[in-house]
């Protein structure tokens, strides 16, 4: 499979050149990408577990108020740094199936989170008394999706 023109152009761009050629650019951006992953996946896994009933002594609205911003910050860091890592090898990565599946899963994960917020965001206070089945399915799906995204991200290096 040959890379599309836009990917070849990105790889040949000054940005791609810099990501490959500067001694510390790639490791530094990689480190930030990992930091984003730790914040995003760490926070979202804890929140999902709480939604599934783990740690019920902690009030859900407060757990959510603490962890949701952390996970959003992590996601934003990942969205800022991911394209930089991509630029270094845009050609081959643009046709890498594992990356394509990972991007699809990110879209699913974000859509799942947005739908969760709009459906259940105002019902967290009485969640433990009447947990909606759909909401719990979404929490379980979120766990699988984000752990899967993290695993795929790491495995791209070996694919």
């Amino acid at each position: 499979m040959t890379a599309p023109d836009w990917a070849a152009a990105l790889e040949a761009s000054a940005l791609g050149e810099w990501m490959r050629g500067a001694v510390w650019a790639y490791p530094a951006v990689n480190l930030l990408h990992l930091l984003g992953m730790v914040l995003l996946v760490g926070a979202i896994v804890l929140l999902d577990l709480r939604l599934l009933g783990v740690g019920r002594r902690l009030p859900l609205p407060e757990v959510s108020a603490l962890l949701t911003p952390v996970s959003i910050a992590g996601l934003l860091i990942m969205l800022a740094t991911g394209p930089l890592l991509f630029a270094a090898d845009a050609g081959p990565l643009s046709v890498q199936p594992l990356l394509q599946v990972k991007l699809l899963w990110i879209v699913l994960g974000v859509a799942n989170a947005l739908l969760f917020r709009s459906w259940w965001g105002r019902r967290l206070a009485d969640w433990d008394d009447r947990p909606p089945a759909m909401g719990r399915v979404q929490a379980a799906a979120s766990l699988v999706i984000w752990l899967g995204v993290a695993a795929m991200g790491r495995l791209i290096a070996y694919a």
């Binding site: 990501m19 490959r20 050629g21 500067a22 001694v23 510390w24 650019a25 790639y26 490791p27 990689n30 577990l49 599934l52 009933g53 783990v54 019920r56 270094a88 890498q96 199936p97 594992l98 969640w127 433990d128 008394d129 009447r130 947990p131 379980a140 766990l143 699988v144 752990l147 899967g148 993290a150 695993a151 795929m152 495995l155 290096a157 070996y158 694919a159």
Partner: protein, 122 residues
């Protein structure tokens, strides 16, 4: 809430973790990686050099095939005294490394000798 018994909850969490780890991988040179039992030593001129991150690569012709040789990240090579200027196309170097297990002409270099100087790459 609910009603999920602890044992079930525990099983649910474990199986979710298991799922995440069991994702299929479509590797393009094979997941197999490198065969450390098969050490290859080649003394060959460099055909192409990409001094870059996340790791440098050189290409060489060895036993009738064009090999891709994976070196190391720029910072490590610089710290060990292997500069970009030392890796010139046409220069003959000595490379010791492991080939891909799947038989494709790709080598993970353990060390490289350039201008009489041996640099460990792992």
């Amino acid at each position: 809430m609910s009603t999920m018994p602890i044992a079930f909850k525990r099983r649910l969490i474990l199986s979710l973790a298991g799922l995440a780890l069991a994702l299929p991988v479509h590797a393009h040179h094979g997941w197999s990686s490198y065969d450390a039992d098969k050490v290859i030593t080649m003394e060959v001129p460099l055909q192409a050099v990409r001094y870059r991150n996340p790791h440098a690569e050189v290409e060489v012709d060895y036993e009738g095939r064009r090999w891709e040789v994976v070196l190391a990240p720029i910072s490590r090579m610089q710290a060990r005294g292997l500069s970009e200027e030392m890796l010139q196309v046409g220069k003959t170097v000595r490379i010791v490394g492991y080939p891909k297990s799947d038989g494709s002409p790709e080598l993970r270099a353990e060390r490289i000798t350039v201008d009489g100087k041996t640099v460990e790459l792992r």
